[in-house]
Symmetry: C2
Subunit: 365 residues, 2 copies
C-alpha cells in the first residue's frame, strides 16, 4: 500500500478550518486508489509564535524534514500586526522555510473559471473565457537573500543597502521549471525582467535566451519589462501563458495576477525544492495564495478551495499522482459550476459553508 508522508502546518485564523476539510478531500480522493495518508501536524506562523515562541519552531522544521512534502496553511493576521515587519508571522516563517528547504521555484496557477468572471475586478469582456496562466517565480535568490547593510555616514546621514544577486545557474534551474510547465501547456514563456536598468536582469535575459534556445527550442520565448508586465496583467492577462521571473518581480506580478483572477479563495501555489524526497520527486511546500481572513475565522464559511487545490498540487509534484490531482481539480471546478459556492464566490446565489463545499467536492470526485 502506497503511503503519502507529509507535514501539515494549518496556520492561523481560517487556516485550520480549511486545512481540516482539505485533508478530508485528500483522503476521499486517494483512498479508492489504495493510498494511505500519513501526516503529522505542526505549528507555524502566529500559532508558532503563540505556542512555541517562534514563527517557524525547530520542532516544526524537524517534522517537515521527516516528510516528503509540506501542506501549508495561510498564516498571520491582526493579532501579530504590531510586531516589527521582519518578525511578522508570514515573513518570519516563510523566508526561513524557503531557505532551509531550498524552495527555489514558486508556481502559481492564475486560474479563473469562466463561471467566475464576476469575481475579477476586470471588465468581463476582457476575460470572456476566464483566465488561465501560470506564474513561475524564483524564490530563494535576488534581493530577498542578498547581503543587507545599514551604516551612518560621516555627515550623520543614514544609508541602507540591499543587494540583488543572481547566479547564472540559479536562473537556469528556474528556467527548467518554466520550460517543464510550458511543455504541459502552450509552449510559450514570457520572461519578465528590467534588463534596461539592472545587471541581474541583463544576465537573466541572456541566460533565458541562450538556455531556451538550447534546451527547448520548440518554446516561444518572449521578454517583457516588469513595468510593462504590470500594465499588461491588468489590461489583458490572457496574453500570458507561462511567466518566469525573479523573486521580487514575481512577488509583485503574481499578487497582481492573483487579484486579477478574482477570488483569492480559489488560488493555490506550489514551492518546489532543489532536493528530492524519498520518492525521488521534488520536495515541496503547498499553500493557498490568499490570506487568513480573520474577519470570517471560526464561522465555518471560509472557502476551502485554495487549500484543496494546493493539496492537489502536492499530489502532482511531490507524489507523482497526476490523475488524482486532476480528479480533485475537476471536482472543484464541477462543484463551482453546479453553484456549490462559499460566500466569496456566490455573487448573489445561495452560499454554503466550508464543510458543505468540501462535501460537494467529495461527491464529485
Amino acid at each position: 500500500m502506497k503511503t503519502l508522508k507529509f507535514a501539515v502546518l494549518p496556520g492561523d485564523y481560517i487556516g485550520p478550518e480549511v486545512m481540516s476539510v482539505a485533508l478530508d478531500v485528500l483522503k476521499a480522493a486517494t483512498e479508492p486508489a489504495g493510498i494511505k495518508l500519513d501526516y503529522t501536524e505542526a505549528h507555524v506562523g502566529g500559532a508558532g509564535i503563540d505556542n512555541e515562541g517562534k514563527a517557524l519552531p525547530d520542532s516544526t522544521v524537524k517534522i517537515c524534514e521527516e516528510a516528503d512534502a509540506i501542506l501549508f496553511g495561510s498564516i498571520g493576521g491582526p493579532k501579530w500586526e504590531n510586531l516589527p515587519p521582519a518578525e511578522q508571522p508570514e515573513r518570519a516563517a516563510l523566508l526561513p522555510i524557503r531557505k532551509h528547504f531550498s524552495l527555489f521555484a514558486n508556481l502559481r496557477p492564475g486560474l479563473l473559471y469562466q463561471e467566475l468572471t464576476d469575481a475579477s475586478p476586470l471588465k468581463t469582456e476582457r476575460i470572456p473565457e476566464g483566465i488561465d496562466m501560470v506564474c513561475v517565480r524564483e524564490l530563494t535568490g535576488g534581493i530577498y537573500f542578498g547581503p543587507k547593510h545599514t551604516k551612518t555616514l560621516e555627515d550623520g546621514d543614514i544609508q541602507a543597502t540591499d543587494e540583488m544577486v543572481y547566479k547564472k545557474s540559479e536562473i537556469e534551474r528556474i528556467l527548467d521549471v518554466a520550460i517543464a510547465t510550458a511543455k504541459t501547456r502552450g509552449n510559450k514563456i514570457c520572461s519578465v525582467d528590467k534588463a534596461n536598468v539592472l545587471t541581474t536582469s541583463v544576465l537573466w535575459r541572456e541566460t533565458a535566451t541562450e538556455y531556451v534556445a538550447k534546451h527547448a527550442p520548440e518554446i516561444e520565448l518572449t521578454h517583457m519589462y516588469v513595468d510593462n508586465a504590470a500594465m499588461q496583467m491588468a489590461r489583458d492577462p490572457n496574453q500570458f501563458d507561462v511567466i518566469v521571473t525573479e523573486n521580487m518581480f514575481g512577488d509583485i506580478i503574481s499578487d497582481e495576477m492573483g487579484i486579477v483572477c478574482g477570488s483569492l479563495g480559489m488560488l493555490s501555489s506550489a514551492s518546489l525544492g532543489t532536493g528530492k524526497n524519498s520518492l525521488d520527486l521534488p520536495f515541496g511546500l503547498y499553500e493557498p495564495s490568499g490570506g487568513t481572513a480573520p474577519d470570517i475565522a471560526g464561522k465555518g464559511i471560509a472557502n476551502p478551495c485554495a487549500q484543496i487545490l494546493s493539496a492537489a498540487l502536492m499530489l502532482r509534484h511531490s507524489f507523482g499522482e497526476n490523475e488524482i490531482a486532476e480528479k480533485i481539480e475537476n471536482a472543484v471546478k464541477q462543484a463551482v459550476m453546479d453553484d456549490k459556492r462559499t460566500g466569496d464566490i456566490a455573487f448573489g446565489k445561495p452560499s454554503i459553508g466550508t464543510k458543505e463545499m468540501a462535501a460537494a467536492i467529495i461527491e464529485r470526485l
Copy 2:
C-alpha cells in the same frame, strides 16, 4: 512682460505631432495673461540617435541647462528595438537626464474622468466616479543608480549584482514632495515599501513615520507592502490618495496605475529637480506617461491630451502659473465631456483628429 523659457524635446513617432499642438494650447492659454513663450527645440531619444548619434545629445543637454523647464515628448519605438536594452532610446535618454538634473521626484496624476470609465480595464462598478490619485515616485536613487557588477566565479558560474541604496536624506526630500501634494488634496499618504524583506524599506518606513509625524502631523500616513499595493491598485484604486514610494516600486506601481486609469493618452507626469530655476521654482521635466504609438504616427489622430496636460504641470510647478494650469486642465476635461474625443477615448462616438482636439481645448480655455 513675463517670458517662459523652456526646452522642447518632441521625441519620436507621435511625439512631434502632439508636441506641436500642445505648444498651440500653451500659447493660447498664456497670451491673454500677457505671457510670452521662449522655447528652443532639441532632439532626444530615437531622434537623438538618428540625428546626433546619441539618445541624449550634449547639445540637447546644453539647451535644457539654459532653460527653466523641459517639455518632453514620448520617445522610442520599433525602429530602435533591436538595440541592446541599455541603449534603447527611452532608457538611454531618461536615466542620464534624470541624473544630470537631479530630477528626484516623479509625480504622476492617476486621473480618470467619470465620463471615461469605459477606458479602464476595471469593472465600472469598482470606479463609479472615475479615479483620482497621485503617485509620487523617487526617481534618482535605489537600485536604478546603485553600484552594479558582474563577475565570473571560481566554478565558472557568472554572478551579477545590483545594489539598492537609499539615504535617509533622499527619503526625506521625496516625503516633502508627497506631503506638499497631499496637502493640496485629501491629506492622506500611503507609503509603499517591502519592509518585511528589505533594509532600505525599513529605513524608508521609519523615516516616513518619523518625518510625517514631525513635519505634517495633520496627514494620515499608512504603510503598505508593494505586493499588496499591486493587488489593491487593481482591486480598488480609489482607496489611494497620494502614494509615495521608491524608484523601482514606483516604476511598477505607477505603470499599473496608468493602465487602471484607462487611456494612457490622457496621463501626464512631472519630474521635479532638486535645483531651482531662474524663477526660484523647481526645475522640472514634463512628459506624457504613454508611449510613441508608432502604429498611428503621422496620421494626425493621436491623442494630444497627455502632452497638453504635461504642459499644464510645467506651468504649475516650474512657472508658478497655477491658474493657467487649471484653466488648461478644465478645458481638456470640458472638451472630453462635450464628446470632443480622439479615437482612443471615443468608445463608439464620432472621433476627431489631433488638431481638432487641440482646437476644441483652445475654444474652452
